[in-house]
Amino acid sequence: MLTQILINGILKGGLYALMAMGMSLIWGVMNIINIAHGSFIMLGAYTTYWFFTLYGIDPFVSILLSMVLIFFLGFFIQKFIINFVIGASLFITLLLAFGIEILINNLALLFWTADVKSVQVSYGGANIEILGAVIPTVRLFAFLLAIAVSIILFIIMNKTWLGRAIRSTAQDLDAARLNGVNVGKIYSITFGIGTAVAAAAGTLWAVIFPISPTMGGHLTLKSFVVTIIGGLGTMMGPLVGGLSLGIVESLGTNWFGSTFENLISFTILVLVLIFKPNGILGKKE
């Protein structure tokens, strides 16, 4: 029983980690809290739904297509909208992100209506057993893919020229510019990567849970919580935060019932903020 609960928590935590990774990247590099993050997750879920119902493409294949599409959407949203307020104060950028969220969500409502949809893959009912715990295969696939995406992101950030450019932009805008980095372009690429990762999380979410145009708000909040718990500015932060939140939620809902899920996660959030404002992995400033 306990193994089952822990494994459920870890599987969900992997998805949380992936969701938070995009938000954490954008936040860390551009100092913007992307309130519209959940909307990009939602868009990833719906592109997957479209590829599946219109063309019969398996979600675990179409995840790449969704990521590419949403990368370019994010790239252009940064280039033509967010870039104009990037130097402004905190709530200006937050408000802009909020405006983008309203726009995307309501366009989605117009296109896809408010009905709840789901992606039913043929192998959706299959299970495997590990240590006496029953695990749905799709959840395991989704978890492994989430890990794979985060490893790729890790490699990009640490081993490539692009990653170095992004990191140096995050550290010191002027120094990066002096060394020949096109800062504007790096911002657009970073935002694109962040939304592409969100889209990947959306795809995996769509395989497991029902989707609707308004699903994003809740997931934005979850991504926030994970980012904060893990600590900003480290690549491992979202992973640690996601897995902790997944496990604690799984244990908590088992003990107190599912109506307490939000109370548990937000109480943890406030406590972490008060006692360890830089997150579990965060260093003291």
């Binding site: 809290i33 905190l90 709530f91 959030l269």
Partner: protein, 319 residues
């Protein structure tokens, strides 16, 4: 000084004039606008003057609404005692909670307040006293329909005026200067002997007090409240949009913002029912990009007005 007097005179004249010229539908709309003006102006105390962007101010609205529901339906209090107590409860909640979370800065504070609002909502959803997700009924006002429209409108207007008058006086005291000093440079404020912890908590408490009173009027007007709508996050964002749209850190900016945003939203929903929310999102984006300092700045900076004013805003914040 002269501008402030004109501002107060305009609010009183227009505010009193409206209900005697219009039907109940308009009075109801005006009540909503005034309630939003209270919310935006209350947010302005902590966000605009003190410089701490609270993204969880809706928590005070919800606490005020639920306090009124509990006090009136379970303790049998009348509306006015319940209104005052609810305001005090929400204010104390803000004051007390301010001590731990106002140590956080910038984004972290914004998110802590958001988390606080969500946690409080989840608590209300699970408490026996607040009857969980099934919601609470309040006693009906003992008056005719027409009279009740007037009643709620004038109560809301009274709270708005009280808030503005109190803030006007506070701004010219050590307390008000302290708020602004903290916004401009908290370390410097601390070094000249301002007890920043207490000042920030008072600011958050004041913000909570008036937001809670607005929640109280709202609850009595609705007659029935549930956790989800009274603690809704988008309402927090809406009050910030209004404050920013009108002009952060000015006395009348948030009022102007609330009136114009609500009128625009209402116009759009009447004429373009299906796509009005898309328009609304677009307006928020355009306003933030072209006039990040709000309408008040456009009014007071008349000289520079013209295309160049908006272009300058764009150039300034770009990378």
């Amino acid at each position: 000084m002269k501008g402030t007097l004109i501002g107060f005179a305009l609010i009183i004249i227009i505010g009193v004039f409206v209900p005697f010229t219009a039907g109940n539908f308009t009075i109801r709309l005006a009540t909503d606008i005034v309630i939003f003006a209270i919310l935006a102006s209350s947010w302005n105390i902590i966000g605009g003057y003190t410089g701490y962007a609270s993204f969880g101010n809706i928590v005070f609205f919800g606490v005020g609404a639920y306090a009124t529901a509990v006090l009136m339906s379970k303790a049998g209090l009348g509306f006015y005692p319940a209104l005052i107590l609810s305001g005090l409860i929400a204010g104390l909640y803000g004051f007390a909670i301010g001590f731990p979370i106002l140590r956080l800065k910038g984004h972290y504070f914004a998110i802590a307040t958001l988390g606080l609002a969500e946690a409080t909502k989840a608590l209300v959803q699970n408490l026996g006293l607040t009857e969980g997700n099934s919601g609470m009924y309040l006693p009906m006002p003992e008056m005719g329909i027409d009279a009740s429209y007037m009643f709620f409108y004038f109560n809301a207007l009274g709270i708005l005026l009280l808030l503005l008058v109190i803030m006007y006086f506070i701004l010219n005291t050590k307390l008000g200067y302290g708020f602004v000093a903290i916004r401009e440079d908290e370390d410097a404020a601390d070094s000249i002997g301002i007890n920043t912890t207490i000042f920030k908590s008072i600011s958050f408490g004041l913000s909570g007090l008036f937001t809670g009173m607005a929640g109280s009027v709202y609850a009595y007007q609705q007659g029935f409240i549930k956790p989800e709508p009274v603690f809704i996050v988008t309402k927090t964002v809406k009050m910030i949009v209004m404050a920013v749209f009108g002009g952060v850190g000015s006395l009348f900016g948030p009022v102007i913002g609330a009136v114009s945003i609500e009128l625009i939203a209402n116009y759009l929903s009447e004429h373009f029912l299906v796509i009005h929310t898309i328009f609304f999102g677009t307006i928020v984006i355009l306003a933030v990009i072209f006039a990040p300092k709000g309408i008040m700045d456009i009014i007071t900076a008349r000289k520079k007005l013209g295309l160049s004013y908006f272009l300058e805003n764009i150039r300034k914040n770009r990378v």
